[in-house]
Structures are given as C-alpha cells and as structure tokens.
Amino acid sequence: MTETMAGDSLYDIAIIGGGVVGCAVFRACVLAGARTVLLEKGGDLLEGASKANSAILHTGFDATPDTLEAACVQRGYALYRDICADMNLSVVKSGAMVVAWTEDDLAQFPKIIEKAARNGVTVRRLDAREAREREPALAGDVRGAVLVEGEHLIDPWSAPMAYARQAILNGGTLMRRARVEGGVRQEGVWRLDIAGKPAVQARTVINCAGNYGDLVEAIVRPSPFQITPRKGQFVVFDKTAHDLFRTIILPVPTTLTKGVVVTRTVFGNVLVGPTAEPQQEREFPTVDHDNLEALRKAAFRIIPALREHDVTTTYAGLRPATQFSDYQIEALKNEGWITVGGIRSTGLTGALGIAEHVVTLYRDSFADPAPLKDVALPQMPNLVEELPRQWMQPQRGPIACHCERVTEREIEAALKDEVLPAGTLGGLRRRTRCMMGRCQGFYCTRRVMELAEAHLPGLVTPIGEGHRDV
C-alpha cells in the first residue's frame, strides 16, 4: 500500500487538495525530486471542482492575453499533448467553432480573432455556408463562425488520475480522507493537523484546495482572495446523439442570449452547458429543473436534431472563482508556502502548466532537488468509445454495466488496484464508467454493489434475519 498513515516522517512538500491541479502539482513535485505527500479530504481524488467540467482541452484562444492563466493554459495544453500518448490518455481532435447567430454576434468576431492572434492561436473565420458545411446539424440561421482547429476533447478523470498515479509510482505519498484543519510552522517545518489522523510534517505546503482555497490559505495568512464558487449545470445527452456533429460549438461570449456550449465527450455523449451561477455552496452543487430545461431548449436551438435524442443525466460543477479573474499563484518565501488558488474555469487544461510554474517557484524560493531519473509511467485503461475497450477482447469475463459495456474485471481492477484504488462510488464510476450510461444503474447497480461492497463500505447493508431468497 502506498497510502500511508504514518505521521512522523518529514516531507519536503505537502500538497493540500487532490483536484486536477493538486494531482498535476503532485506529479511535478515528485518528478522534480521532492519527497511529497498529497492530502485530500475526500474519499477519493477529484471529488471537488474537478469532478464536473466540460472536458475541453483549451488552446487558450480566448484567454486574456499576458495573464498567468493564458500562460499556464498554453503551457498545459502543450504539455498534455506531449505526455498523453505515453500514459495512454485520450485526446480527440474536435476543433471548436464560436458560432454567431446575430449581427451583434458577428460584430464580435474581429475582437475574438485579434485576441486569438495575441495569444498566438491560429483561428479561421467561416461564413455561414462554410460553418454549415463543417457542421450540417447546426440550425439553419447560423451567420458565421470562428473556427479554432486546436481545441480538443479529453477524459477529465483519467488525466488527473494518471498524474497522481505517476507521482505514487515514483515514490509520492497519497493520503485520502485527510482533511487539513490547521497548521503551525516552527523552525522551518509545517505541522499540519489532519482530522482524525496524526499530523503531517513538511517543509513546504502547497495550497491547491480549490473551492476551499481561501479557508486553507487562512492557515498561513488572511486570504487575499475570497472564493465564491460559480456553479455550472449540464445536461448530458444519450450516445445516440454522438454522430450529429464533431466540432465543439461555443457561444459568442458577450451575446445577450445566455450562451451555452454544446460538445461531445470522449466517452461518446453530448454535453450541453454550463450555466454560470455565483453561489455560496462549496461542496454539493444542486441542479435545478428550470435551468436544465432551459439548457435542453438552448441545445435544441443550436442543434435541432438533438430533439430526437434522450437525456442521459444531469450534473453540476463548482468553479473556484475569486474576486480576481486571473489565477492566484504565489510563493510566500518566508512562510514555506505556495498558494495555488482561483483556478476557475480552465484548470483541467492549465494543470500541467500550473504544476511546471509551481516547481519553478519552489526551486527559486525553497529548494532545488535533483530531478528524478528513470521515471515510471502509468498506463491508463481506455474508456474512450472509439478506441478498443476491454469488453471487445477475448476472455473478457462478464459485462456488468451493459449501457457503457464495463466488464466485471474492469470494476474489480479499479477496486483492487494496488496503487490508487477507487475510494468512493464516484471514484469507481470515474475510473470505469459503470452506472454512467443511459439506464443510470437500472441494470447494473446490484452487480456493482456486490463487487464494491467489501471495498467501499456504507453503500449497502446486508438485510438481516427474516430475509429469504425466493
């Protein structure tokens, strides 16, 4: 087991928060040669902001030029494309189109194109006919589009899982169900209090706590930023809609009608969303019937043929938004602390870039270890619809989830994995896609529970005496 309970060892670095940012930073720190522990309060990684996003690998064409966010997104984009094949991570080249429906939308195009140019991203203007030629399923009154060829779709969970996995394989320590409640620094060493567990000691702390970033920051100083989580709701359409279109359909940002993104996922669904609703809840976002209905209608407006397709599920995510639009990343040299906050709406893409930047800050401010040699590489199981899946192989064993065609073997592998086993039902779903299909568990919940029961206590309880099997 690489997940330790030991509290007496001294780490070079303790990272607080196992979202996509924390996972990428974890990987970078371990590969940089630092003894690193990742502390995550959830039962598994990716239980916060990183569990629900649009799963787009952004070029950064629309980022505000010359910001830290723009730089990290660009770098993260490039790094992801460099390493994804090595770890068997998916990347689907879909391209994106910013689509204009009105004269006002069209009037925004020069600005969008100019911004893209300043960000060094190649885009191309399409007239109405070209836009429809590329995506015939678009509603007939499309006026034109800006095509961004470089936008990609990725698997939003396998990627950060791979980062964390690589960190663990190369000596990093992961502690889940480890909520940092406070800490003190004495003689250059942080002692972090963990709820219900021994304290963890480290020379440098990196705050990657996402929607709790300001609360965790308060351990070291009055937080210079406040988090107001910005909720984004989504509607997921059935895989039958997958072949309607290829390109990510983006709204013109300033249009009066509330713009929504319509995109495919690497898993073969179609996503519509997200909304942008500032609110206070940090942990459990709600979906709202009226918003979902509005999203569905908006999707029909953009791609009318979606009417013929069923909704599979709905969900919501929380962006760690602050009063600032840019990322809040800084090293507190005298405090042994690096702040990585407010990674609002581009963190999935930016993570690897952020991690690289953080290591640079670490080397400049704290220590300069020798980078690891002979780095181990994890191989992630494929969940992408269009590539060979396990159920297609001989000796596949029984299929447990028939909608997503997840085998019992895949589920067991995720539960019994020695490096990073699923720690929650959500974690199991994100690793395998079981229960994520059109029946949402009608056919497979029981089997999944039987397999998971011993590993994920508390989901089901055995029925006591008096129960008879018929």
Binding site: V236, T286, T314, P394, Q440, G441, E450, T461
Partner: protein, 399 residues
C-alpha cells in the same frame, strides 16, 4: 448460419423460442447479455407471474425458471448483441471476442427499463441512494439494502412492487408520492399500501428537489401548492418505463415517436424484413404474460417467414396517430382475404368517445366506444379484408 437468433432471454424471447422449437426449427439460439436467462422477472420477488401462459400464480424467479426450462433451445448467456445489419447479420460480443453471426430471421426481445432521475430533470443535489425499482428489487433479492426509509416516486403498478420489495428488504418507505389526483395503478392499491405497508400515498404531490450530501437526507415536496421537507434516506423513481430499444436504434431500425420502440407491422416485422420484435421493447410497459404472448405470436410469424409466406413489406398500410391518441402498434397493417388484426393504442389523456380507424378518405374501417385513462392499453379489432385498397390509416378519438 442460424435459422433464428433471438435477442433477449426474457418472457418474450423465451416464449418465442419455445414455439419455434416445437415447430421443429433446428438452428436456433437465444442470446442473453447477462449471466442468466429469465429477463426482468428474475428479480421480482413478489407473486404475479405465469397466470396467462402457465395458468399459475408464481413469483418472478419461479416464472423465469419455467420459461427457461420450457424454451428447450440453447440459451447463450454472457452474449451481447452489439448490432444488426441487413441480410441477417448479427454482431455479438462473447467470451471469445467480437464475432459476426448470420440468421435467416432475428427476433428483438430486449425488453424495457424505468426512467431514472436524469431524464426527469429533477432538481437538487446528486447523493447516493437514488435508484429505480428494478435496481432496488435486484439488490433486495441479493440480500442488500441501499437505504432504510426511502420515498417512492410514482404510483404505477411497479411502484407498488417497490413497496412489496421494501417489505422483503425490511425497508420502510416514508411515503409514496403522486403528482396526479389519483394513483396510476388500479385502485385499491393505495388503500392496500396504507393498510398493509403503512405507507401513506400522497396525491397531488410533486417532488421539488432531492436533498443531501454524500447520501440522501430528504426531499422537498409540494402538496396542493404547499412546500415541505420529508426526511428520508433514499429515493426510488418508479415506472415511466421506456423500451430498451437501443439495439434497434443503433442498427438503423426506425423507432416510433409514440411507442419509442421499433415500428412493426402486423406480422411483428420491423422495417428490415428479417428482423422481428416482440415484448416490451415494442412499447412500455405490459405485464410479463402479455410480453410472452407476443413472443409466441411473433414466433408463429417467423415460422411463416421461414417458409416465405409473409406479405411483401411494401404492401403494408401505415397507421398514424390522430386526435387524442398517443401511440399505436403495430404501425403497418396488411390487407388479406380473411382474418383479424388487433391494433393496440394508448391515449394522450383521459379519453371518452369513439376510437375510430379511418382510411385516407376519412371512411371508418373499425371503431369502438372508449372511456379510458392514458396509461391503459386499448385494443381495436380490424378486419383484414376491410383494408383492401387502402393507402393510409389514421386512429383517432371522436368526442
């Protein structure tokens, strides 16, 4: 090369197999994606199975066993059909990998499922403890219980199954809630629910949102315009069945917007002359006996098809839904010198009036008086001889 491949080992598929086997069809197999045959009844631990086809009153698993034994043909479990192509081509995933088989005729009997939370666009958080009757029944059948005090959404027949399941599983539902002013199942199920199970049935009550973090902690409901919170640790979405017609759809067979199953003609044939469909994949939802009878009827048509005795697809007369009618099946009929065709239909709302089938010129071909609730199936008998020379039929209610 098979004579017949049957997809789905539920009541419809297994009943069809039995008829085909008895008629002497040699090369036949039932393909079932799960580990064991029997379909949905396998997990229905309550009485109510076998009356129509075995003349017995059984629990689901007993019925599933009887169907399996009676079928008398190879049932290949752990075998998923992933696609069908014109010409009798069947793509399957088995323990040996992906394979392509061929058959002279194929029967789709892939059944039905309930509508889960997602497509209902229900508000609230997304905690563990939200499920469907089917999943709940399976868990209880295997001795597992996901919650102790759930709320049951809906009042269809299956909603009362959920109540019975709860009893088996030592689970005590806090309430059953129904949006309408009456329960969907036939009365006095609600009285029984209250009396036997001690579960209140709240009418005119809407689920507003689901509450809770990791697990369900309650639901907000609105009863007669008034909102309140009901503490509970689970939510069972019951009913609103939809055909599990994904195989038909991804194989390019057209689905009907009313039934949401593959369209069929009066010989149970889909648009592909080699592909037939029967049971709850045709439309949701009928009890298992009806699915079984359809399986048998479809099998008799397949026997005729194997002898080349079915009419040409192009000679079919299409039926569409008019005023008041939500769905009709079969959707294509054939004129013949003798015999009767039974049309099945469901209404959009409560309907009282004359249900009439008329031709392209509005002339009545068949009619009957109805007074019927939307979820009930109505039958209309049509004389096949009366269809001669017609090009288009329309079913509607005249008030």
């Amino acid at each position: 090369m098979y004579d017949v491949l049957i997809v789905g080992a539920g009541p419809a598929g297994l009943s069809a197999a039995r008829v085909l086997k008895r008629a002497g069809v040699e090369k036949i197999a039932v393909l079932e994606r799960t580990r064991e045959p029997g379909g949905l009844p396998r997990y229905c631990g309550h009485l109510g199975f076998g009356m129509l086809d075995f003349g017995r009153m059984w629990k689901g698993p007993r019925y599933a066993r009887a169907l399996t034994e009676a079928a008398g043909v190879p049932i290949l479990t752990d075998t998923t059909v992933t696609g069908i192509e014109p010409g009798g081509v069947v793509h399957v995933s088995t323990e040996r990998g992906l394979e392509t088989w061929r058959a002279r005729a194929i029967l789709l009997a892939t059944g039905t499922r309930e509508t889960p939370r997602g497509p209902r666009l229900v508000s609230g958080t997304r905690p563990w403890g939200v499920t469907t009757t089917g999943a709940f029944q399976e868990m209880v059948m295997k001795g597992l219980r996901p919650f102790q005090n759930p709320v049951i959404i809906g009042s269809e027949l299956v909603s009362f199954s959920a109540l019975m399941t709860a009893r088996h599983g030592q689970v005590k539902p806090v309430a059953m809630i129904e949006e309408n002013a009456r329960i969907t199942a036939r009365r006095p199920a609600d009285v029984l629910a209250a009396m036997v199970y001690g579960t209140p049935v709240l009418l005119n009550t809407r689920l507003v949102s689901i509450l809770g973090g990791e697990r369900v902690e309650g639901v907000d409901i609105e009863q007669d315009g008034e909102r309140r919170t009901l503490a509970c640790d689970g939510v069972v979405f019951t009913g609103k069945f939809v055909p599990d017609a994904i195989l038909a759809r991804t194989s390019g067979l057209p689905l009907d917007s009313g039934t949401r199953g593959p369209t069929i003609d009066s010989t149970f044939r889909t648009q592909d002359p080699q592909v037939f469909a029967a049971g709850n994949v045709l439309r949701a939802v009928e009890h298992s006996g009806q699915a079984a009878l359809e399986g048998r009827a479809a099998a008799r048509m397949i026997l005729r098809a194997l002898e080349g005795r079915l009419p040409d697809l192009v000679s079919a007369v299409p039926v569409t839904c008019g005023e008041g009618v939500a769905s009709v099946w079969p959707q294509r009929l054939y004129a013949a010198p003798r015999g009767r065709i039974v049309l099945h239909a469901r209404m959009e709302t409560l309907q009282r009036g004359v249900l009439r089938l008329s031709d392209q010129e509005g002339r009545a071909v068949a009619q009957r008086h109805i007074h019927v609730l939307p979820e009930r199936r109505v039958e209309l008998r049509v004389s096949a001889a009366a269809l001669a020379g017609m090009s288009q039929l329309r079913l509607e209610v005249e008030k």
